[in-house]
Symmetry: C2
Subunit: 192 residues, 2 copies
DNA sequence: GTCTATAATTCGATAGAC
DNA sequence: GTCTATCGAATTATAGAC
């Protein structure tokens, strides 16, 4: 924390507070209070409360897309691609738990036209996952489930992570989580 | 819609609007506007905006607990219990999609002491699911995964439903969703 | 039950001195 | 960059006439 610039310190503190209270419920006065400064000073770091949310959300969204594009372009099997997608989500949860929680919980508070842009990015991401699963089904590696349902169900298996692991230190061992979720997704709960 | 009392009509309209905009972002003026009435009239139906949220959330929470208790007490296998839990979630999604979405997205906006009560109910529910999975593991029916991770991952597989199916008519066939999710949860994605 | 009017508070954001 | 002070708008909620 010591080598942070003031702006970085502000961004980190705000991110945590917004996660605890929610974006709408967190006021500029709340931010100032938790930083022990005056309301007016907040505007040294940001243009508006809205732009703060945009910075967080598009930042973490870009990280997901960057990782996903690397996975999609690599010459590995569909099964390996899906494993890497799981790993990416867990990595990002470890490195940026608050941003990840914000990504899931607060994107609805974006305003147009940023909201439409975000939703488009979100859909693009889901479609990339869908493509991986579709490939796997066509190759006979994955079970032939309904593609939409399988994709959303798969993505959901990764969506509790931020909720139960927000904050430092991460409560569960990332490698163990990865192993367990991979097993759940690939083989299911039942033995037979 | 025609046989609704005015209060029922108000509750249904408000529920939909709160889901679209978010609880904090939905103002009493928004509610009045969508009902073509004045702000003051809203308070014929409710005591406060906060109590409105409480009514919705504890109502749907109770329905989940009621269904869950019936399942837990029944003399069926762990596998059948888990199947019924899946079915219950899908049933409630079909019957009360907006309440279900609210349950996931807006419970953070409760205030103390209601917030603590809600969180306790939420934890109790998760623990009931956990017990079912634990039973199945002990009986050798379910794979021996980490109990916490398995429970949260399982519950998450049911958590995209409200997101992709909010509103009427339900876009996907409930029986098909049930079949597909059950297969995903029990057998996983991979063929082998 | 419905309306007009308004109270009381809180919000995001800014002006201007230092 | 930091402060004091404040603006203008929006918010929940109520009073009181009809």
């Amino acid at each position: 924390m010591s080598k942070m610039t003031k702006k970085e310190r502000f961004l980190a503190t705000s991110l945590k507070l917004i996660n605890e209270k929610g974006f709408k419920a967190t006021t500029i006065r709340d931010l100032a209070s938790s930083l022990n400064c005056e309301v007016a000073n907040i505007y040294n770091y940001i243009d508006s409360k809205q732009s703060l949310l945009e910075t967080y959300l598009f930042g973490i969204s870009n990280e997901f897309h960057f990782a996903m594009d690397t996975i999609i372009d690599s010459k590995i099997s569909s099964e390996e691609k899906l494993k890497l997608i799981i790993r990416t989500h867990i990595d990002l949860m470890v490195k940026k738990p608050y941003e990840l929680a914000l990504l899931v919980n607060e994107w609805r508070n974006l305003k147009e036209p940023k909201l439409s842009t975000f939703i488009a990015e979100k859909n693009t991401y889901e479609n990339k996952v869908k493509t991986v699963i579709k490939e796997g089904m066509e190759q006979g590696v994955f079970r032939s489930l309904d593609l939409e349902i399988a994709t959303f169900t798969f993505l959901s298996t990764l969506r509790w992570l931020h909720d139960k692991n927000t904050g430092y230190p991460i409560k569960m061992d990332p490698l163990e989580i990865e192993k367990q979720i991979t097993q759940f997704v690939f083989s299911g709960l039942c033995i037979d």
